[in-house]
Amino acid sequence: MNSLNLFGVVAKIPRSSRSSLSTQLIDILLNAKGGDKLPSGLAKNFLYLWQKNRLEEDEGMKVLLEATLFLDAEATLKQLKDSNLIEVADAIQMAQQKR
């Protein structure tokens, strides 16, 4: 999924959901298999935004989603649905199907 699409998806995530969602996405990221396959630039962006405490901002959520979708798309979509972010999950799935 390209960056433009993900920014559009992130805009659908309410501010009130971001704190708990970002924590849950981080857990997916930290525990998924194949962490060494995460593209280097994406890993560094993730660390930079974590260092600056900006993971709950649009850019941070985008990088988190990009990274978790890369490492474990199934768990990411399940988490979005469990967090009642059905519209977000659907938007991601549609974009994935179009690719």
């Binding site: 981080i26 857990d27 890993a43 560094k44 974590w50 260092q51």
Partner: protein, 344 residues
């Protein structure tokens, strides 16, 4: 920053918190935890040095690049696998990334690991004494000329660049002689123990070393380098500690096991299973008695109580060591929110 902790006796003690990571995962995960630890108030961070894992210096470099305050060090490197000359160069280079935030932790090394690597360990005490002398000489810019130790010999060595600030050397120690050596030579000591009674005994030995050398204990950072596991559920904290305890039990000499009333047959079964690579059998054979002897585990309240006992022994840095917890992120969060505030 270290802060003064009012012990139950009412005396003020300096205490800082350290955390240890084993770089067995890809670097960005360790760096994530490092940022979390710094933000949560940890003062020191230690990365283990083991050839099967990611490089300690690559990991520390990345951590320094993404943190601003926390002090970092090798926890610990050893002079048998890595030449003290290389260690001096590595540490001095690391110090250029973040001057004043780097320390060098060095110990005699884990015998099992060194055997695996085909390294013959001779005179560990002399090796450590000489290694610390060599590293100090290089870091201070003095260099070495015709250094004739009983383990290391150097014709001529000097760093081709200047180290702008003093770099403390911490000595990792467990046995009596090494603890005394740490008191004699170290800027700090990393006491490899988790049980309050063991740590109390160790601190006394460090004091003997300082007295013999005419030094003051105030000059030494005394760190309890524990195998730590925390969870809201004591059972889960215990379970998370089992793999680490299994390896400690397997590597412990019989007198140490007997001292802690660990059944020698049970310990042998764990060792045999580990040698065969049968980890489930080895880990599930760990008992509460073993974990009580070789790890600090429990709920936040239980951990606070045990840490308080350790600090009373004269410890100035408490190191939250591996495994930290079943879920490392959550375990760090618990320490940050419930344990550290009790002491700072």
């Amino acid at each position: 920053m270290p802060s003064r902790w009012l012990s139950r006796k009412g005396d003020l003690q300096m205490v800082s918190f350290g955390i240890e990571f084993v770089p067995k995962e890809v670097y960005w995960r360790t760096v994530y935890y490092a940022i979390q630890a710094e933000r949560g108030g940890f003062d020191n961070l230690w990365i283990t040095d083991h050839f099967i894992n990611r490089s300690v210096y690559v990991t520390l470099t990345m951590i320094l690049n993404y943190t601003d305050r926390i002090k970092v060090g090798t926890g610990v490197t050893n002079p048998f696998l890595i030449s003290p000359l290389a260690t001096a160069s590595n540490i001095a280079s690391l110090n250029e990334v973040a001057p004043g935030r780097v320390v060098c932790g060095i110990g005699a090394g884990d015998l099992t690991t060194l055997e695996q690597a085909g390294v013959q360990v001779t005179k560990p005490l002399s090796a450590m004494r000489e290694a610390v002398q060599m590293i100090n000489a290089l870091l201070k810019g003095e260099g070495l000329q015709n250094f004739e130790g009983s383990v290391f010999r150097v014709k001529s060595a000097k760093l081709a660049f200047k180290v702008r600030n003093p770099i403390p050397i911490y000595i990792g120690a467990q046995g009596a002689k090494m603890l005394k050596l740490a008191g004699e030579m170290g800027d700090g000591v990393l006491i490899n123990a988790s049980n309050p009674a063991d740590i109390k005994e160790a601190v006394e030995l460090v004091k003997e070393g300082t007295s013999a050398a005419g030094r003051s204990m105030d000059k030494i950072d005394v760190a309890a380098y524990t195998a730590f596991s925390i969870h809201e559920s004591e059972e889960k904290a215990f379970k998370a500690s089992m793999p680490v305890v299994a390896f400690i039990v397997a590597g412990a000499p019989d007198p140490i096991l007997e001292k802690h009333r660990v059944n020698l047959e049970a310990a042998k079964r764990i060792k045999d299973a580990l040698v065969k690579g049968d980890f489930p059998t080895a880990f599930s054979a760990v008992t509460r008695e073993m974990a009580d002897a070789f790890a600090l585990y429990g709920t936040p309240a239980q951990c606070i109580e045990k840490i308080s006992q350790i600090l009373k022994a004269g410890v100035t840095q408490f190191v939250v060591g591996s495994p930290i917890g079943g879920n490392v992120r959550k375990a760090i969060d618990l320490v940050v929110k419930e344990v550290i505030p009790h002491f700072k």
